[in-house]
Amino acid sequence: MASVRVQAADFDIGAETRALTGGRADIGAIGSFLGTVRDIAGGRRITAMTLEHYPGMTERSMARIAAEAEGRWPLLGCTLIHRIGRLLPGENIVLVLAASPHRHAALEAAGFLIDWLKTAAPFWKMEEFADGGTGWVEARDTDGAAAARWGTFPGA
């Protein structure tokens, strides 16, 4: 039931929400998380961010994360979209949507999806700084701790 996509193109949360819920009257609750590019990182101004990924493994891990969410909460569908390539500050990066009859299931599943996506899907961010140079974003312990609240993705 999950829709999982990796794409360079932008997405629209309104269109994705309609695609998830359109024509259905059994849902009731949609929780979502939308991540966008910030123009500041560690006190340095960012002019762009490039998302690299591992084609093949990315889709597999995203599908597994979605299936895990569907096993843990009574979901009627979920959507995971992650952009790749070069993005500018303010642009969309990632969207998760979780639909359920129950609002806490929808919100908790959205939190789970983004926490695991950040720690178990093979994406890497490279930042371009306004004062010159580039740098790969380092994984944060807080992301690991956040994901670990939900248990651990196999092997990650």
Binding site: L117, T119, A121, P122, F123, W124, W136, E138, G155
Partner: protein, 88 residues
């Protein structure tokens, strides 16, 4: 003397340091785990040694599944080395 080739992939700063994104190598006798493969690859060139640093900072996947250093590698496998992920 090799037993067959495996495909090695590098991502993010590992790819930049090693200087290639993908290479096919003949898996030598005696190399049967991710950890042993990583040590052996480090000997291929100074750039490999600079990319495949030892320690906690490198992650690996075998056939697109996360794998620890004790995980088995066999001819025909696809093995990827990369930094901890930072998407989302």
């Amino acid at each position: 003397m090799g037993r067959g080739s495996i495909k090695i992939l590098y991502f993010a700063w590992l790819r930049e340091r090693v200087g290639v994104s993908e290479e096919d190598v003949d898996l030598p006798e005696g190399i049967g785990t991710v950890g042993a493969l990583q040590d052996w690859l480090r000997g291929r060139s100074p750039r490999h040694a600079a990319g495949l640093v030892t320690g906690m900072t490198i992650r690996c996947a075998v056939n697109q599944e996360f794998a620890g250093p004790d995980e088995a590698v066999r001819p025909g496998d696809e093995v990827a080395f990369f930094p901890p992920v930072t998407g989302g």
